[in-house]
Structures are given as C-alpha cells and as structure tokens.
C-alpha cells in the first residue's frame, strides 16, 4: 500500500507520526507498526495502549531507594526478609536488575541516577546523593556497598561518596574490580590487572 498517493485517515497518519518519533523507528517501520495495530484484535490494541499509559501514570521513583516502582515504597524496600542495614549504591535502575539476577545480594539499594561527569555539567547536586545521606543519617544502616561502574566517572563518584560517608563511621565497601569472566588476560589493560591483583583472594 502506498500511503503517499492514497489519502490517509487522520488517526492512521497520527499513529504513524507517533511511531516515527520513537528511537530507531524510521518512516517505513512506523507504517508497518501502524498497520499491524490496525489489523490486530481490539483487545490487543487496548493492552498496548494501557501498557503505555501505565508506564507514565503508575510508575514513580521509590521515596527511599529512588528505584522505579509502581508502589510506595518499592517492593525491595518493603521486603522485611531483606537486610535493611546494608545499602548498595548503583548508578541506574537497570543495575538493580543485574544485581538481583545474581540472587546473592539481600540488602537494599540506592539509585544515584547518574555519575559525576563534570564536562557534562553533572555534579553531586544533579544526583540523588542528598537522599542517600539522609537515609544513612537515619542510623539503621551499617554497611554501604559502592557499585558504581568501574570506569573513570564511576570511580570518581565512588571517591567522592567515600569522602561524604567516611565521617559517618559506616562500613564502606566497593565491588571488587578485576578480570571479567570470559575475558582474556592477554587483553586486560594494566588498570584492570592491577585492581585484580589488589583484590586477589585466598583459595
């Protein structure tokens, strides 16, 4: 079907336009998606519309850990089975998914929503650092695990947090930085290798 020559009903044109604005979707894909929706059963189309609406209407940031949640506080912060004396600090909500997949960690989280990136104008005030400090000042937490990424900004952010947290007398740990599983010693850079040596463990 050539939509350029046939007059397109306004709702169709509108949906094509909306799809076209999504990342990675060109005009051709936008047309294909639109006609897919058009042909789909009504309940399928409703489900899609509801899912999109729910993302915007029902999700917010957890008042405690600032993870994305549909309840206040989030399921992790509410869970009495978890260890409420340990907080793992991560850059983004998606990092929580990775850590949860391991099923090894039973404490709580705190999402910074970014890292210190001076040249992008992102400093501590742009991150959820004040929220972290007020959680720590509440007194229940005995260990903070810094799980920012092992790259320059992640390390700088960890060093900065260390300055702020050290005076509180709370145990502070950093995720071990070393060789990636499936990686090859030959290709490891010196920084990774020296960190891996520092973090070596008895067998």
């Amino acid at each position: 079907m050539n939509i350029d020559s046939t007059p397109t009903a306004e709702p169709i044109a509108r949906l094509i336009q909306e799809f076209n604005e999504l990342p990675g979707i060109g005009p051709k894909s936008a047309q294909r998606l639109t006609y897919h929706v058009l042909r789909a059963p009504a309940d399928k189309a409703d489900a899609l519309a509801d899912a999109i609406k729910a993302v915007k209407e029902k999700l917010s940031l957890c008042s405690l850990c600032l993870n994305i949640t549909d309840s206040q506080p989030c399921a992790i912060c509410r869970d009495e089975e978890r260890d409420h004396t340990t907080i793992c600090v991560v850059e983004e909500p998606i990092d929580i998914l990775s850590l949860e997949r391991t099923r090894k960690y039973k404490g709580l989280y705190h999402v910074l929503h970014g890292v210190i990136a001076p040249a992008d104008g992102i400093g501590p005030d742009e991150l959820k650092i004040k929220d972290l400090l007020s959680r720590l000042n509440a007194g229940q937490v005995t260990e903070v695990i810094l799980a920012t990424n092992p790259n320059l900004e992640g390390e700088a952010t960890a060093m900065y947090l260390q300055r702020l947290i050290a005076p509180l007398g709370i145990r502070l740990t950093r995720l071990a930085r070393g060789l990636p599983y499936g990686g090859d010693l030959e290709y490891a850079d010196d920084v990774t290798l020296s960190r891996a040596l520092e973090g070596r463990q008895d067998m």
């Binding site: 001076p118 040249a119 790259n151 320059l152 990686g183 490891a188 010196d190």
Partner: protein
C-alpha cells in the same frame, strides 16, 4: 594516492559519549591528526578487548579503520594509564578540566604536535605535582599561546606604553595587561596585582621545571585563576562546565579542614 584503510596513531582520550547499546564515541587528541572522533565498539561490555585501553585520560596506541562516517578503533594498547591521577579525586577532576579545555578550543583534524605534547606533559605533571593549581595555570597559559591568544604582558595591551611596577589591570577583550589610563576606558578591565603580573610573565616564557618553582599564597593563586578563567570565558563566550565541579570540591575540602 589514496589514504590507507587502516592506520595507527598515539592518542589521549579526552571525551567519550555513549552510542547505542554498548558502543562509545571517543574524542581523541593525537599528534599528527589533531583532535578526532572515533567509534569504540562494545567497550561498555566487560569482556571488551578495548576496555581500559580506551578509558578517559589514557594515553594509548590505537589502530583505526576508516569508516563511512567516523573511523573505528580496531585495536588499542595502553602506553600510560595515569593511574596516580585516576586514584585521586582532585587530580582526576583537574585532568577532566584540561580535557574539556582542549576539546572546547580545538577544531577537528588540525595537526598540532606541540599541543598534544603539552597535554601529555600536563597529565604527567598532574599525576605528581603538589600544587595542582599551578599545573592548571601553566597549562592554560601555554594552551592559549598555542592557539594564538598569548596574553600581552610586557607592555600595555592597548596603548603599548610600559607598565609601571605597581598594580595594573587585565582586560580579556584586549587580551592582556592594561595601564591605568587605558583601564579607565575599559569598563570590564579587572585589577591585576604586581605579583600576579610577574608570575604570569615568568610562566609565559619559562619551561615547566622553572615555572613550578613558584610558591604562591592562596590569594595570589586564586587571583591568577580568576584572571585566566575570565579570559578563557571571554574567548569561548561561555563558562567551561567542569569549573563548577572544581570549585565545589575545593570549597568542600576547605570546609572539612576548617
């Protein structure tokens, strides 16, 4: 003669931005090709072979393949990782500041070997120096010189008369020191102490080893920082973003020590 499809260059990584799922676009400072942007594929995955070899503020030997748009980094080997710089928050922040300076002031693909060497030397100095602020001022002054903005400090930048050995003025728009008479007609000129003038003159015409012997009181150090910061802001027509972070770090460490 056509350019070869693959080529090798030394580079200092001065900026990186995310591209798609796992790639990055790196901004490189190189000796023969000037500043250039290149793609590093898969570097956000832990198993990436490029990994730390293409981390910010790293001096590496890179192999690149010409791409349709941006060239693509195919191999990387670290020459210097500047670990002592990266392990200290003040030092690494200063390193990021000079990277932003170089990125802001240079155009792509303009060969400048001396600028590359200045950047490399400065990263080494920042890794060791006790007075990191001095390293930054020396770098700013010599970067400006490389770019053709050498401040005029021997005579008045406006009328050319010799400057009195007393407090004078500095004008960003005139690009140098001003005598009293000229300063009255230049509303944005700022006072410049005699000590600041002397130190700027010395740094301008000496190598780093000589320049680094200067011992500054905090007031003088802060005056020189303000003079050069205003001048840079005037030339770029904007404030560099990382200055806010440098200011915050310093303010917080002063509070912690008081």
């Amino acid at each position: 003669m056509t350019a070869p499809r693959v080529y090798q260059t030394e580079a200092i990584i001065i900026k990186r931005t995310k591209l798609g799922e796992a790639d990055r676009i790196l901004t490189l400072c190189t000796p023969a090709l000037g500043k250039l942007k290149a793609v590093a594929k898969g570097t956000r995955r832990p198993q990436s072979k490029l990994g730390g070899h293409v981390e910010l503020l790293t001096h590496s030997l890179l192999m690149l393949a010409r791409g349709r748009n941006l060239d693509i980094i195919t191999q990387a080997q670290t020459i210097d990782d500047f670990l002592p710089l990266k392990d200290n928050l003040e030092r690494v922040s200063r390193g990021l500041y000079i990277s932003e300076l170089v990125d802001s002031f240079t155009a792509e693909r303009m060969e400048d070997r001396r600028l590359f060497n200045l950047l490399l030397d400065t990263l080494h100095q920042l890794s060791q120096a006790e007075d990191g602020e001095l390293v930054l001022r020396y770098f700013e002054l010599h970067l400006l010189e490389r770019l053709g903005y050498r401040p005029r400090l021997q005579q008045c930048a406006s009328c050319g008369s010799s400057l009195q050995p007393a407090a004078n003025y500095f004008s960003s728009s005139q690009g140098g020191a001003l005598c009293h008479d000229c300063a009255y007609q230049e509303p944005i000129a700022r006072p410049l102490s005699l000590n600041a003038l002397k130190v700027l003159r010395l740094w301008q015409d000496s190598d780093y080893a000589t320049a680094s012997r200067v011992r500054m009181k905090p007031e003088l150090s802060s005056e020189l920082e303000q003079v050069l910061r205003e001048y840079i802001k005037y030339l770029l027509e904007r404030q560099l973003k990382s200055t806010a972070w440098l200011d915050k770090l310093r303010q917080e460490s002063q509070q912690a020590n008081s």
